[in-house]
């Protein structure tokens, strides 16, 4: 009986199979299409829309202007420039205030307090000079620009303007194999790469989203602008006549940022043509209606969702890194600290790339945030050149108010115009900070793509620095190079 049943089942199945062959290639589509068609026919018969017209006309007029051939791009550049200008100029004052409070005032208080309760020097070093200081630094330099940039950006988004930017920029990104909305994640990356990576969620096509995530690091983030400006002022501004210095160094920084956009597009193109070729791609871009921005709600969500979220991740990574920074400068093997051992060992290799051991070490141990690279570089330079009268002591990061003093320290550390230039390039082209790496992993759930996003910029950076350095040596004096 059971046997008979089974053979009947098999007969039915094979009949079903042969009937499916009869049905032809695309019957699935036909079914879906007819369901849609029926639904829309019913809807058209029974649903009437009223009172939507005036609002829609309004939208239409704005759209005509912001996507027009002549005004579209100027309006876009103007708005983005205003956002960046407000961010940079507005963040200076609160940043200074926070630095004064957390670093100049609270740090000595904590240090004295630790001594007063009889804490051993190494423990207070690890906790106060290492963990606390790096956390304080990250908060002071990261919080204000983010707290200004993200709400402004979110307001533009809420108003409905950003999708129009994507709409206008799409043809450029299409040629790079990417999605127009990558223009948005790229601009967001100028604020913070981790936030830019999260913002890539708006791209609903899997391949284009991965491209946007992997290339976001080429947007020069908030944490790297101060480095660029400082180094450009010292080395590039210093290399030209004084009355040109300001203009030339500003031009150099903008040049680096533009180079970043260029790399972003080229790498997007390369990825879409090679490793990501097989991923599915499905483009669509909805242009939602404009609406008055909800200011309070925007402020709240952008502060909580973006600023605090990113800041929290940065702090979590900054604390252990602060401890490591303090330890490598204070644990000695023989006469030298771990840091000095590494610097001496890495120096010849690094000089080959036009950098030096201090820079390499700084980029390794300051991985939690680009903001603490320069303080770490200064601390390590002082440590390795033995200028103990400068700085705050081994393992204690510091920054100087005077650019001339900073320049003296760096020049004493053997820095040349080439080192400065290559540091600027390497600052653009190196691994993302640990916050961003972690965010990439969270967003892609893939160790492979996280690894690609981490290693690709370093490899590019080393290649670019290498050729810059060697071409420099070829065309300019070899004497300076070796010195």
């Amino acid at each position: 009986m059971a046997k008979k049943q089974q053979s009947e089942n098999e007969d039915i199945l094979s009949l079903a199979n042969s009937l499916r062959w009869e049905l032809g290639v695309d019957f699935h589509d036909t079914v879906i299409e007819s369901i849609y068609a029926d639904a829309s026919r019913i809807a058209r018969k029974t649903v009437r829309t009223e009172g939507e017209k005036p609002a829609y006309n309004w939208d239409f007029k704005i759209d005509r202007i912001v996507t027009s051939r002549w005004l579209g791009f100027p309006i876009m550049f103007l708005l983005l420039a205003v956002v960046f200008w407000i961010t940079v100029s507005g963040a200076n004052y609160p940043s200074g205030l926070l630095a004064e409070l957390l670093i100049d005032t609270l740090h000595p208080v904590l240090k004295n307090g630790a001594t007063a309760i009889g804490m051993p020097w190494w423990l207070s070093g690890v906790l106060v000079d290492g963990a606390y200081l790096s956390m304080a630094w990250v908060i002071a330099v990261m919080l204000p620009p983010m707290a200004i940039f993200f709400p402004l950006f979110t307001l533009l988004e809420d108003f409905g303007y950003l999708p129009r930017v994507a709409f206008n920029m799409d043809s450029l990104f299409r040629r790079a194999g990417a999605h127009g909305k990558q223009a948005l994640t790229l601009s967001m990356g100028f604020g913070c790469n981790a936030a830019g990576v999260i913002a890539a969620r708006v791209i609903d096509s899997p391949r284009e989203r991965l491209i946007a995530i992997i290339t976001n690091n080429f947007s020069l983030c908030n944490g790297r602008w101060p480095t660029q400006i400082l180094i450009a002022t010292i080395f590039i501004g210093g290399a030209v006549p004084a009355h040109w210095a300001g203009l030339v160094s500003a031009g150099a920084v903008v040049g680096i940022a533009v180079l970043g956009i260029f790399f972003s597009l080229v790498v997007s193109w390369g990825l879409s043509k090679s490793v990501l070729r097989g991923e599915t791609s499905a483009f669509s871009l909805e242009l939602p209606p404009y609406r008055p921005p909800r200011i309070l709600q925007t402020l709240y969500t952008s502060l909580i969702d973006r600023t605090i979220f990113v800041l929290w991740r940065a702090i979590v990574f900054a604390i252990p890194a602060g401890i490591v920074i303090w330890l490598v400068a204070n644990i000695h093997i023989g006469d030298l600290s771990l840091a000095e051992h590494f610097i001496r060992w890495a120096d010849p290799f690094a000089l080959f790339f036009g950098l030096n051991g201090v820079i390499l070490l700084a980029y390794i141990i300051a991985i939690p945030a680009n903001e603490i690279v320069i303080p770490t570089v200064l601390m390590l330079t002082v440590l390795s050149t033995g200028m103990h009268e400068m700085g705050e002591g081994a393992g204690v990061m510091f920054e100087l108010d005077s650019i001339a003093d900073t320049e003296n320290i760096l020049r004493a550390g053997g820095w040349t115009l080439l080192t400065g230039l290559n540091l600027m390039l390497f600052s653009l082209l190196h691994n993302p900070c640990s916050t961003t790496i972690y965010t990439i992993y969270k967003e892609t759930h893939s160790a492979k793509w996280t690894l690609v996003a981490t290693l690709l910029p370093i490899v590019l950076g080393l290649i670019v620095c290498f050729f810059t350095a060697q071409l420099w040596l070829l065309f300019f004096s070899t004497a300076e190079a070796v010195g």
Binding site: G24, Y36, F60, R207, T280, F352, Q470
Partner: protein, 350 residues
């Protein structure tokens, strides 16, 4: 310092290193791709390809001799003889009146390989963004590596398809295959109406040109003229001329009782700003996720669409569809067929 090498030399060395790295990672002909290809057991590949070819001949009732086998597998006649001897020793083929025939076990082996090949092609077409020119080559490599179980699992995942993207039936897991239907396009006479059911993907050069002409399975053809070994026909309203050799690569099914589609479909990309039309359909070339996305947005037959605004850079264009403005790239709008409405009243009352 220690590394005091002349910069010119190190630049050369650097270029060399970058070149070697680039070569190693190059997608198609790079080192890793090469190693990957070498890892395949070439003897087994040859054997399976021979079985596949023999099966194809039997399925289509074509005679296939030693030379056509050698030609198809791109080996010498000597090698082909050895290969066939081996197949016979393994009990996969038998000889009958100077022609080769698959034994039952040979047939089921061939069907297994074909099943993997066609499932993989279907998978590439529907679930990935790989170009259609590459489906066949990729499946040719995959068919020798994928186990029957893995193929079944993949088939289940993509909804147990019964046709590959070229219109070939996929053998069932039990090894069933429908009767070979249809006839070559070259055999049609003037005035015949038929539907393309299959486009042969080998040889590659011919397939490439047929695809470039925009032909696809499911398309309606209407034969206009047959002279001097050339066949002229209208494919979805567009006129095509093919030589007999090319036309033989296309299999069609006659549709005796149908009216020819006289009008050529208009593409959404031709709609000017401010113009309205009605969606007629989406081209079968647009597959998988992209197709589902367009349908999700409401691009289905009968939907009214209005071209509303053009991006400052000229592409994409914003279309008003079902009360929303949606940006669609020109390359996508080329896949969407429309019918332009007559210029009359704005909206019909319900």
């Amino acid at each position: 310092m220690i590394l005091n090498i002349h910069p010119g030399l190190s630049i050369l060395a650097g270029i060399l290193v970058v070149a070697v790295l680039a070569w190693a990672f190059w997608p198609k002909n790079g080192l890793f791709a090469l190693i990957d290809r070498l890892r395949m057991n070439s003897r087994r590949v040859l054997l399976e390809d021979a079985l596949k070819y023999l099966f194809d001949c039997e399925y289509k009732n074509i005679d296939c001799g030693l030379h056509s086998i050698a030609g198809n597998l791109n080996i010498s006649a000597d090698q082909a003889t050895k290969l066939l001897d081996r197949l016979r020793a393994m009990g996969l083929i038998s000889m009958k009146d100077q022609s080769f025939q698959l034994t039952d076990s040979g047939k089921s082996y061939a069907l297994r390989v074909i099943r993997v090949h066609r499932i993989w092609e279907r998978y590439l077409a529907d679930e990935t963004g790989i170009d259609q020119m590459e489906w066949h080559g990729a499946a040719d490599r995959k068919e020798h590596r994928m186990s029957a179980e893995a193929a079944d699992a993949l088939a289940a995942q993509i909804g147990n398809p019964v046709f590959d993207p070229h219109g070939d039936p996929i053998p069932s897991a039990q090894g069933e295959l429908p009767e070979h239907k249809g006839r070559p396009l070259s055999s049609l006479e003037e005035g015949a109406i038929a539907r393309i059911v299959h486009i042969e993907d080998e040889p590659h050069t011919i397939y490439e040109q047929l695809v470039a002409l925009g032909l696809y399975p499911g398309m309606q053809v209407y034969v206009l003229d047959v002279t001097n070994g050339k066949i002229t026909f209208a494919a979805d309203g567009e006129e095509c001329v093919l030589t007999a050799l090319f036309a033989a690569s296309i299999t069609v099914e006659e549709l005796p009782e149908q009216e020819p589609l006289s009008t050529k479909a208009t593409l959404l990309s031709t709609l000017k700003i401010g113009e309205s039309a009605e969606i007629v359909g989406i081209s079968p070339h647009c597959r998988g996720q992209q197709r589902r996305r367009l349908m999700d947005l409401g691009i289905v037959p009968g939907t009214p669409v209005t071209a509303e605004l053009r991006s400052a850079s000229g592409d994409p264009t914003g279309y008003r569809i079902m009360g929303a403005t949606i940006g669609i790239r020109k390359s996508q709008a080329d896949f969407i067929f429309i019918e332009k409405k007559e210029k009359h009243a704005d909206e019909q009352p319900a």
